[in-house]
């Protein structure tokens, strides 16, 4: 009973210098949510790309409903009802929602001689599709560029439905979402499951897997490890399957004695999303900054870091007033900023590890503006060693690294500038469990041993609760709450984050 | 921030529209450059020939010293086969295609001359210099040139002379000492007079006219216009100079500029004076398409074939013959004569095949003849 709808077997895929998938098999049943787990670089993405027809496997067979299929391009896969929602959203910011949904298969009006895109029908269908997802307040003519992340993703899902997909692949759909968006997403996923759509769900957040998935398949280093029913497995099982070893603790928080104030901001202003923010950060403490996406957390961080110079308010470092107009000045004052958007803000992906790690400290590695490559190499090798970055060496191009390792490179870049204050914006977004715990361990080491002050922004409550000594909560550009590690818990923080907002967001579909 | 931009924008626009120097009449451009003008005596063009003669006689009465250069210890190639290179302003336009044609004719007649034409594909002073330079390196017996800029081209030509290569210019001159002889279609003042005369004859002494020239920086046109100005201000002070517009050597632009003149001045425009063989037919075309043949006279330099449609249907009464073919033809003969030693500094004339004897004027210029005006009667005698 319950024959597999999609069946992959003996899949092998090679990339230059890498054997990405080794004889992998994979099954998806009709109407199930099937989680696909594995550390970055384990081969999940490659597998998805194969299922969705982007890559062709060297060997192995794919069969749908028993008969063999093979895809030469994404279109083929779409035609037989396999739709994919990619991690980096595949949308056209300059085009309207309706168009994005129907790009490539717009409803046409037939005039006998020629066909034309039927805009009216396209917009009506778009509204219907969104309706099916219980989204009634999204303007189908708005430019996607003007939507927030949650809405963009809904557009992606609607797009998938428009192909009336029987298999829907979701690659880390929640990576960029806020709690409330995640809730909506889950309800949509369940909705689809009831309609008999099979969903391949990829995520690093294990709790989501347990909340949502029926079965789970684990890959490691391009090999098939196993498939299990979610109900008869446990978090630690999965982790050990993924990592190949057991991870004692995801949040290895060490006790560290809190020093005196290193960073203090007083009524910092940069409307609309930063309105007289005031707080202190002490040496040797991790301050968690919680809040919904769009609540102004990142903006605040960027104001401090000088990307968006403050319109008013003071910043004190070691009780000295400082005036930060540009990131370079922030760096001089010993502030580091690990931004949320790694690929776009954190790294120059086309450059090597060496060049990236030294980017913030060029002065240090160069004698009067001439860069000393030897020094650079030493620096790079140190950070590779210290953060155990998995790479072929300092000369490897960052592009080629997995998400977790890329994140480590970003961190190492800022450690190289040995800062007093490190602002970490979503330090573990899209990072696999292994790397995640390593980064967390590193954070608490830095704090405990070097007395660093860390301001950590995160959308993951467990992370906030697990790592912070103190927790600040922002909402709509204002600081609305402060909790000590002791008094903080899921509920009071969540409510602080969302009270009132919830309703507003509901109606806004955001 | 955005406000300031908006404001600067508006202000800037206003500045652009109103604060730029306006009033074409006020600083009417008379091709002014530092050189002297010497207008001919007044009179209508039936006396043209005499006038021209007269002009020449003047030259002869106080004959000007030879002011050209000379090729230092050039090999004596008298009577032998010689290889010439012809470097016009640019290749790929009809005008210099015609000069090339003339040179080839001459070369065939002489039999012992080979001419190859090579020039930049844009009328660009630097490229022309480089082309000439590479031929100096390559080694030829003589260089024929039409300068994009009289001064800029001088150094490289001097180098040519120094390395024993004979240099003759045609159509567009260089500094005299940078070449031996310059073959001139007609004297600047002659052209200037002919133009004005023709215009006045058609539209009266108080006619008002606009000029379509190539560019303000092209020496020939500049000289002609200043000669026109000089002659007109002596003889017909009532002429009204409306405006001078640039049109490069471009057909479309010439046409549009002529249209602009017509539309801008309406009835106030009696004539269009076109300074290039491209501008003349296209201005005529513009006048014709506007159906104003009776009201606007088109005067200018042109090659007969281009003008036939307009002259034959009477839209244009006459035009001044510009004969690139003979120009190229003469240039080759002059070069041959130099090399054969039959034509040396001090001579007052040179034999040029079918063109007969050509006069020397202004020291080192060989004159093709007085400006020839063609009209409905004789236009069909020509075919180029």
């Amino acid at each position: 009973m319950n024959e597999p709808l999609l069946k992959l077997s003996g899949i092998n895929k090679y990339f230059p210098g890498v054997h990405a998938l080794k004889d992998v098999r994979f099954e998806v049943r009709k109407g199930e949510v099937h989680a696909l787990l594995g550390e970055n670089g384990a081969g999940k993405s490659t597998m998805i790309k194969i299922i969705s027809g982007v890559h062709k496997p060297e060997t192995g067979s794919i069969s749908l409903d028993g008969q063999r299929v093979n895809f030469n391009n994404p279109r083929d896969a779409q035609n037989i009802g396999i739709a994919t929602i990619y991690q980096e959203l595949g949308l056209y910011p300059e085009l309207s929602v309706a168009e994005n949904i129907f790009m490539g298969h717009a409803p046409m009006k037939n005039w006998g001689l020629f066909k034309t895109v039927d805009w009216d029908r396209m917009q009506r269908r778009a509204e219907e599709l969104l309706g099916e997802l219980n989204i009634y307040n999204l303007d189908v003519q708005a430019n996607v560029g003007t939507l927030n992340v949650g809405n963009r993703q809904r557009v992606e899902i609607a797009k998938a439905l428009s192909l009336d997909a029987q298999i829907l692949i979701m690659d880390e759909p929640t990576a960029a979402l806020t709690e409330s968006d995640v809730e909506q997403l889950f309800s949509i996923v369940r909705l689809l499951r009831e309609r008999g759509v099979s969903i391949i769900y990829i995520s690093h957040r294990l709790n989501e897997v347990f909340e949502l998935a029926d079965r789970v398949t684990v890959l490691r280093d391009g090999e098939y490890i196993g498939t299990q029913d979610v109900k008869d497995t446990s978090e630690s099982d999965l982790i050990s399957m993924m990592v190949g070893r057991t991870i004692d603790n995801l949040f290895p928080k060490q006790e560290s004695e809190i020093g005196d104030v290193v960073l203090e901001v007083r009524n910092l202003n940069h409307p609309p999303l930063t309105n007289n923010i005031s707080f202190k950060v002490h040496a040797g403490e991790i301050v968690g900054l919680a809040g919904l996406v769009g609540s102004g957390r990142s903006e605040t961080a960027q104001v401090i870091f000088g990307v968006l110079p403050a319109e008013s308010g003071e910043i004190y470092i070691n009780n000295q007033p400082v005036h930060i107009q540009h990131p370079s000045e922030a760096v001089k004052h010993g502030i580091g900023y690990v931004p949320e958007d790694r690929g776009h803000q954190g790294l120059v992906k086309e450059m090597t590890i060496r060049e990236n790690t030294s980017m913030a400290v060029l002065d240090a590695v160069s004698s009067n503006t001439f860069i000393n490559q030897a020094k650079e190499r030493i620096l790079a090798d140190q950070s590779i060693e210290q953060l155990s970055i998995r790479a072929t060496g300092a000369e490897q191009v960052v592009n080629k690294l997995s998400g977790g390792n890329q994140q480590k490179v970003v961190v190492s870049k800022w450690l190289a500038s040995n800062p007093q204050i490190l602002i970490m914006d979503e330090p573990t977004r899209g990072v696999d469990v292994g790397a995640k715990s390593e980064i967390h361990r590193l954070m608490s080491q830095l704090v405990a041993e070097q007395g660093l002050a860390i301001l950590m922004i995160s959308s993951e409550l467990p992370e906030i609760l697990g790592m912070s000594d103190r927790i600040l909560v922002m909402r709509e550009g204002r600081l609305v709450g402060e909790f000590t590690r002791a008094e903080a818990n899921q509920e009071n923080i969540a409510t602080a984050m969302m009270s009132e907002v919830i309703n507003k967001r509901k109606e806004a579909g955001g | 921030m955005r406000k300031t931009f908006a404001i600067t924008l508006v202000l800037g626009l206003l500045v652009a529209l109103f604060s730029v120097p306006t009033g074409a009449q006020d600083d009417r451009w008379d091709g002014s450059d530092d050189l002297e003008t010497n207008p001919l005596a007044c009179g209508m063009e039936e006396m043209m020939e005499e006038d021209a003669e007269e002009g020449d006689e003047e030259e002869m009465m106080e004959p000007m010293e030879y002011d050209g250069g000379s090729a230092t210890d050039a090999p004596d190639m008298a009577g032998q086969d010689i290889v010439l290179v012809d470097v016009p302003k640019l290749v790929g336009i009809g005008y210099f295609a015609a000069t090339t044609q003339g040179q080839q004719e001459a070369a065939e007649e002489l039999g012992n001359v080979t001419v190859t034409t090579d020039a930049p594909t844009e009328a660009n002073i630097d490229d022309q210099i480089q082309v000439i330079d590479s031929y100096i390196t390559q080694g030829v017996d003589g260089i024929l040139f039409a300068a994009n800029d009289p001064v800029a081209i001088a150094p490289v030509l001097r180098t040519a002379l120094e390395s024993g290569i004979h240099v003759v210019g045609y159509d567009a001159n260089s500094e005299p000492d940078a070449r031996e002889w310059f073959v001139n279609q007609a004297e600047f003042n002659g052209i200037g007079k002919a133009m004005i005369d023709s215009l006045v004859d058609q539209m009266g002494e108080d006619a008002s006219f606009g000029i379509v020239t190539s560019t303000f920086t092209t020496p020939n046109q500049a000289r002609w216009i200043s000669e026109m100005w000089a002659y007109a201000s002596d003889c017909y002070p009532d002429l009204e100079w409306l405006e001078t517009l640039e049109a490069q050597e471009d057909a479309v632009l010439s046409f549009q500029q002529a249209q602009t003149l017509i539309n801008k001045y309406g009835e106030d425009l009696d004539g269009i004076v076109a300074m290039t063989s491209v501008a003349t037919p296209n201005s005529a075309d513009a006048v014709q398409q506007a159906g104003l043949c009776e009201d606007i006279a088109v005067v200018g330099l042109a090659t007969p074939n281009d003008m036939k449609p307009y002259v034959n249907d009477g839209c244009v009464r006459d035009a001044i013959l510009w004969n690139p073919v003979d120009l190229g033809y003469a240039a080759v003969y002059v070069m041959r004569a130099i090399i054969d030693g039959e034509f040396a500094p001090g001579d007052t004339s040179v034999m040029a095949g079918k063109l007969g004897e050509l006069q020397v004027v202004n020291g080192s210029e060989v004159l093709l003849g007085a400006p020839f005006v063609f009209n409905a009667e004789n236009i069909n005698d020509f075919d180029f």
């Binding site: - | 602009t260 539309n263 491209v278």
Partner: protein, 466 residues
Amino acid sequence: MIAKQKALPARPKPIHFLGIILAAALLSAYLFLPFANQPELGASTIAMITESKKANELGIFTNGLALIPFASLGIFLLGMWNVIMPKASRAISLMMSVSGLLVIAYFINFIKDYAEEEATYISQMGIGFWIILIVSILTILQILIPRGITEARYRITKLYGNQESIIVFGLLLLIFVIGVANPRFLQERNLSDILSGNAYIAVAALGMSMVIITGNIDISVGSLVGLLAVISGRLVVAGLPTPMAWLIPLIVGGLFGAFIGFLVAYLKIPSIVVTLGMLSIIKGILIIWTNGERVTGMPEDYFLSQFRPLGIPMPIIIMVVLTIIVALWMKYSRTGRAFYALGGNADAARLSGLSQKRLLMTVFILNGVFVGIASVMYSTQFNIIQATPPPGLELSVITASVVGGVSILGGTGTVVGSTLATLLLNFIRSAMIFINVSPFWLKAVQGLLILFTVLADLIRRRRQRL
């Protein structure tokens, strides 16, 4: 991020169509009604325009003109009403109001002159004719073309909806200012001369805009126009039937486009590099082949650009028709939309199964064809075809597209914009002469104005980003 109000339904409201109908009715009435009190002439405006200068007597046009203020008053009121009811495009409204005012201004201007018994009234009627023509076309386009319909948000939240309307605004402003400074500028003949004389640039700009929208560029346009023009001319002189001589350049252009497309799409050479090379290659071919000999002696029926059906110069008709067709095609055809997709987000385009290679080929071939059309319009306007590429054409074409609001990074812009921009740029060029800008400073002023147009667009984009 925070709640955004529900946007408006975009289906055109009857009110919009009222705009069209009014404008169209106006236009036709103006063009074709015989004028009652001139029985002996009884001719329509069209006839008058086409008549020679002599026939353009005062009386005829007073009637013709009399239509203008009423109509424009109507449009103006409609415009104002649109502004008040925030249900329609501010852009349209703005345009309507301004043009309405304009024409009224001219009516007054006319009455003044009439009293003073000076000037020929062809000029006044000319402006009426052209303004109404432009308004009508734009009213229709604004409603049918993407910017007009899909982006409801533009309409309600922005003062000027898009680059097109900025340019139209600038265009009308220019006409107004220059017209006041020198009414001669407004003669029907002058305006039509400017339009028809540069129509071929606009047509070339159509292709260019498409190429730029896909995120590429073609700087070999100039040379290609030159080559194709000569081909066309030589063919017809060689005795080929005229239609063939008009058609073949399109095909050859398409072939060149295909070649460029191949290099870009399959061999992955950046288009700017390819076309930089092709620029000189084609030019070289042209020179070696023709050696500069002009082409003459084409048969009478060859001169497409000189035809004047309905008294409207052929180039203008071609330009307007093609612009509308292409605009509609870019909006209503799959391929058209795919171009936007490709330019907007190439990866996404690939993932949603669009074939990048095929699209690139298509766009470059199309571009080639349009260059072909442009070259025919170019070669058929005079009795002589120069064997030289029109100087600096590629720059004016690219400038037109960019000024027209086509983002150089690809993904946005409309061909309507590029056509309007062509008009604007050339109106500026001629206008400067009419207000006696010193000939030496023409280029400088043009450059300045281009800069300002671009900045205007930029500021608009800034606004919209907020």
